[in-house]
Homo-oligomer: 316 residues x 3
């Protein structure tokens, strides 16, 4: 069976179907309804590098649907340190589980695992490569807010050079005809080959260093963390990062239904004053990780999400 390694594994129609499933599953994700669609199924959690949010939301998704989870656990004490290859580790977990959620520091590791496994692999991030479940929850969040994906004006801001999340999302938004504004310090610009690839797919892309000047006619502002380690010295960092810190005072003239997103954890990019504005959507976005992953788990395990979910589940 095939897993989800990159967003290219899904057609636009499939993406929208999965988002529909996710929306129907909201009451289950919120704990209002008990619907053990995945009872008797086991997911293996193979996190070769830590990721609190992704791992916990995968686990929650599986458990909300009645499924079980087994964790590889700390890589530093696992069989991996005894010299076991990724191929052999995958063979083992493949035998124990029905589906594998995996994060790995090396680009391409998820595809390699899928080639070795009988069960579907859900790529939870492979180095500088892909992170499609993040993209799915981002798309879900945007569609919930705006009722659609196509034709929106989306500002992606911060570290666009190293950010796997914004690369994947940019490609997906291009497929749905969004207009993209890339706002970043020069040092952290979106790589030129990605920009031209997006344009080759018909994207309308603008690049700027001026975040605050670009948010007033945006439908979505997607912030990311600027990491100190990327800069040669602290002064350079302070100067650049300072221009990518969103504060409630910057939001006076934005569109009423503009939403602010962030893959989290944030450090200083979004000031807590933003949290209580109508625009803040990053905590809801994190919660949407559960519902998006529930829909993906059902899809890859071949379990249909009932059309009338209230009738199918039991109230809690």
């Amino acid at each position: 069976m095939t897993g989800l390694i990159t967003m290219d594994d899904l057609t636009n129609e499939e993406i929208l179907d999965i988002l529909d499933d996710a929306e129907r599953l909201l009451p289950v994700a919120k704990g209002e309804l008990y619907l053990p669609l995945l009872q008797g199924r086991i997911m293996g959690n193979l996190f070769f590098e830590p990721s609190t949010r992704t791992r916990m939301s995968f686990e929650t998704a599986m458990k909300r649907l009645g499924g079980g989870v087994v964790n590889l656990g700390d890589v530093k004490t696992s069989s991996v340190v005894k010299g076991e290859t990724l191929y052999d580790t995958i063979q083992m977990v493949d035998g124990y589980t029905d589906i594998i959620a995996m994060r790995h520091p090396r680009q391409g590791a998820a595809q390699y695992a899928q080639d070795a496994a009988r069960v579907p692999i859900l790529n939870g991030g492979d180095g500088a490569g892909n992170h499609p479940t993040q993209t799915m929850l981002d798309l879900f969040t945007i569609r919930q807010a705006h009722g659609k994906l196509d034709g929106l004006k989306v500002v992606l801001a911060g570290d666009l050079r190293y950010g796997r999340t914004v690369h994947s999302l940019s490609h997906a938004l291009t497929r749905f005809g969004c207009e993209l504004i890339f706002a970043s310090p020069g040092l952290l610009r979106m790589p030129a080959e990605i920009v031209s690839d997006l344009q080759g797919h018909g994207a309308n892309v603008t690049e700027t260093e001026d975040l605050y000047g670009s948010i007033n006619d945006a439908d979505v502002v997607y912030m990311t963390r600027i990491q100190k380690e990327r800069f040669a010295d602290e002064d350079e960092y302070a100067r650049c990062a300072g221009a990518y810190k969103l504060h409630a005072k910057h939001l006076a003239d934005v569109k009423e239904d503009m939403i602010i997103m962030h893959p989290l954890p944030r450090v200083d990019e979004i000031h807590p004053s933003v949290d209580s504005t109508r625009h803040a959507r990053y905590f809801e976005q994190a919660f949407n990780g559960v519902v998006a992953r529930m829909a993906l788990l059902c899809r890859l395990l071949g379990v249909a999400v009932p059309a009338d979910i209230s009738a199918a589940g039991g109230a809690l």
Copy 2:
């Protein structure tokens, strides 16, 4: 919804109600009866410092009742090290779960978390602050042994200065009219402000350095660990700690139904010779952590514990 941060969150009547629930849940905690009252519910385990007993008994309580658990995992590899604030971590887990069990090294952290969360927080210990679920299992253990809480004579012994557990328990026992004897080395006396606060609430308190001389008319002897680190040098430690080591030979003249408790882990405070006496109740006390936490989980999640539990559950 409100959680349990301190014992002050509960009236005496509520405490007794919860202890009644806990008693009814005993066959479920023992694995004699299957009663999935919390099926479909998810508890988040947020242990910012390790605590084997508290964490495992929370997990067991949830799972015995059919609920699921997601763990934050090792703080050293979690998003916390990326600089995420407690506020943001709570926002995330809040979205994934129906209730959060939390331990944190900083006093006040549990209340801070409750202010940030929609779901109830069960305080599993916040630094020098509170540890109400421990107090509930202690009260349950005492009531199981003596059939009541009020009017008992309770010796609390060992490290009374730094022991969060004995502070909370002393307050609770005062509310039920127990007589308190504090037996400790001078260096580790119960803080004067706590003693006077207890007396202000009507407590009958005696302080002594003589443990062995105070146990013969006690109904409960509650031992705690004396930590070497508290003392300036090893000699001082050896001299003091030596006077707070209970051995079976000390029990010749105690009351027949006197019980010996300890929050565990013990080191040398209770000699193994005590384990086989009729007085030893510390392992049962540890087990009672499950049943007390089951009752609290049900209460905070708004799930009623059936009056006739055998009729409601399935035999195992």
Copy 3:
């Protein structure tokens, strides 16, 4: 209740009964059938040293059968480091669970734990001592391939001196009348006292340094890892280990139904070219850990495995 500490705890008849149960449970282990035989039961996972494969397969076994698992977690942060004795740790977990799966670096620890506990202990390896659940899955794998255990010719190869796994398996195979060929470097020979003990039980044993010369009339070749640390210098290691590396090219003249096993993780003992041959059985062997442990869990918890499993379970 009694657990499983060593293979001597089981008669030959009981072993075969459990293998029958394991075979019936295959569709549940594969996730084709949902049969929550252990719903409401809790297993404690006490791994005092890490073991990815054993721990994960125990967890999977329990969860496939609808049971719950609580983990002691990382020993380095558990109550064990506060000086808690194994006796006290067992008393605690004993109160939380219905059965305990345990691995410990010290020989005899599992029996010690069983003496302290009310619930059954499943020994998942105790130092140089026993590892009976590994032996059960090895026997299951052999019987699945050959339809029987008795009268087979089994080559055990590699590190026979320190290998707990091959010691246990040799004893078990002797009970079923197998012929044993021990192939190892001189330094890593099967200890003389084990050889004479096996012979005292009627075993037909041959010792050799020549692996490749002994596999052609074998029914089973059981490889193990040769650890560099066992040798005085790297040259000696390279010379010895080089003669115990199975490659597809060595298999030209072996029996058609000969199977190659390995407890995993492997390093260089079996070349990947072997993986795609009809003889490779090590990954299936790892999977069999789930089904063997399922059968043992049911047995020790007193839960009968239904004769007609398809009728008893629900299709997935």
